[in-house]
């Protein structure tokens, strides 16, 4: 690991001023940044340790019924907050399906939004990667790419965003609260992450020095609590990134869908909000035929970026299954393996 200066600012303005200098990187939980630094993928000259900044580790109920989650709240603490899990069960389910208990105890809400892709060519500094080194080319194209993007990819980059947490968040219209040199601003999570286009190295809406201070959920997000699920499929039942995942949330009245939210993970460079599928769902009968139509709409623009055509059909089936699970109702207690496709009932065994 190359040498770096270490700064632990006491205030948010001090942190922003320090991080605005070229070569700076914020450190919070460190679970992704230190991994990248050990691999030589990131080599900041200055670490700005924000892990002790005051007032960023709170979960606050807002007067308008919304929720404000401080950027330094740990993933495990958020998922195990009983009131949070009750109001936003799909978000808790996504958090608990991510990484391992050790990592969830350290990783933060803000850091989760900024975690880098797990594309193996990005991680291998001997490979060409436009994201790591703009203009270098992309060895994932034509390489081992069965887990790469099927939506929103470009010839410059076919990597996917690895977050589970962001998938239900984008479905529930989460907003990122950012403090920068020009003051505070709000960006919807849907607009926060960028598609690769010709500039895959630019992954989000942050400018130098910008600090994520909180993630907000609007009041309406809690209205889906009774029928919301996150379904993640991966190559083993725990501690792996998603091959495909889906967050589905419904409001159903008299068999009709009164409100619907759907987002996919593991399919694109950003958490993928499926608005065309939501349009199919809205006002329709809540049944499997509707869910199949929604799944087709969600993947209508999908195309393989390599050996990953299977992900398109897999994603369709995951959408149907997530919607079916959401319709069945949120379980009182999340299953032992919250993301396992085999777990549908509280405390279900994955081999049952």
């Amino acid at each position: 690991m190359r040498d770096f200066d270490y700064i632990r600012p006491a205030t948010i303005p001090d942190a922003i001023a320090a991080a605005a200098e070229p070569g700076s990187a914020y450190l919070a939980g460190g679970t992704n940044l230190l991994d990248l630094m050990k691999g030589g993928i990131a080599s900041p000259e200055r670490i700005v340790d924000i892990s002790r900044l005051p007032e960023l580790n709170r979960i606050e109920r807002l007067d308008d019924g919304g929720l404000r989650i401080g950027a330094l709240v740990r993933n495990a603490d958020l998922a195990h907050d009983a009131a949070f899990a009750k109001a936003y069960p799909a978000v808790a389910e996504a958090l608990l399906s991510g990484a391992s208990a050790q990592l969830r105890n350290a990783a933060t809400v803000g850091g989760n939004l900024l975690q880098r892709t797990r594309c193996s060519y990005f991680y291998d500094t001997a490979s060409a990667c436009n994201k790591r080194e703009p203009g270098a080319g992309c060895d994932a194209l034509g390489g081992e790419n069965r887990l790469h993007a099927v939506l929103g990819w470009s010839d410059a980059c076919i990597a996917t965003h690895p977050s589970d947490f962001c998938v239900p968040l984008v479905a529930l219209d989460a907003v990122v609260e950012i403090e920068g040199k020009e003051g505070r601003r709000h960006v919807t999570l849907a607009e926060f992450h960028r598609l690769p286009g010709e500039t895959p190295q630019r992954e989000n809406a942050l400018e130098p020095g910008d600090l994520i201070v909180a993630v907000r959920l609007p009041a309406e997000a809690a209205s889906f609590a009774a029928n919301a699920r996150y379904l993640k499929v991966r190559e083993r039942t725990s501690y792996a990134f998603a091959v495909v995942s889906a967050a589905a949330a419904l409001v159903v009245d008299g068999g009709k869908i009164r409100a619907a939210r759907l987002a996919l993970g593991g399919v694109a460079a950003k958490p993928w909000r499926a608005r065309s599928a939501e349009a199919v769902l809205l006002g329709a009968d809540a049944n499997e035929a509707t869910f199949a139509s929604a799944a087709n709409a969600a993947l209508a623009d999908a195309s393989p970026s390599g050996d990953n055509a299977f992900k398109i059909e897999l994603a369709r089936r995951i959408v149907v299954r997530a919607l079916t699970s959401a319709l069945a109702g949120t379980p009182e207690r999340l299953p032992a393996l919250p993301a396992s496709p085999f777990s549908s009932a509280p405390g279900a065994r994955h081999d049952a």
């Binding site: 340790d49 208990a101 105890n105 501690y239």
Partner: protein
């Protein structure tokens, strides 16, 4: 970069140290303090061999800068037993053949202590398996570990009930 002063409480003992900011908690424990029970496996947060409790919570010490944990309370495998008396989790690992080789076992035991403290697994074997899935080993002791966790939890709960009575 010059070294920075930090204070850590490790297994109940206070240490005042000067550390290069690049030093991880794992390397500090092993290389500076000779607490080699905590193991360096993958060194990238993937295997769990370096698991320690920091302020009561289990983390991967390989992905923790020591300087960032200034003031923390750290428990390592060396601080788990009471003198010659094994902790119930350690005893249960022996009783149920949950020992892997010395490389993975300390992390498994520290992770088990964290799992029990978190109170999320209860007596559900599937939750225990999920809760310990950050500790990866191929030595096939997993079945014994689940039995050990179930027994240790019961013993600790009984001890708690006696203490409360």
């Amino acid at each position: 970069m010059t070294s920075l002063p930090i204070t850590l409480t490790i297994n109940g003992h206070r240490h005042e140290l000067e550390v290069d900011p690049r030093v991880t908690l794992l390397d500090l424990l092993r290389e500076r303090l000779d607490l080699t029970g905590t193991k360096k496996g993958c060194d990238r947060g993937q295997c769990g061999a370096c698991t320690v409790l920091v302020d009561g919570k289990r983390i991967n010490s390989c992905l923790a800068l020591a300087v960032s944990h200034d003031g923390a309370d750290v428990l390592t495998i060396e601080g788990v037993a009471h003198g010659e008396e094994l902790h119930p989790v350690q005893a249960a690992f022996i009783a149920h053949d949950g020992f892997q080789c010395g490389f993975c076992t300390p992390g498994q035991i520290m992770s088990t202590l964290g799992l029990i403290a978190e109170g999320q697994a209860g007596d559900d074997p599937e939750r225990i398996r999920e809760g310990l899935s950050g500790n990866i080993c191929r030595c096939a002791a997993y079945g014994g570990i689940v039995e050990a966790v179930l027994e240790a939890q019961e013993k600790l709960a009984t001890a708690d009930r006696r203490a409360a009575a």
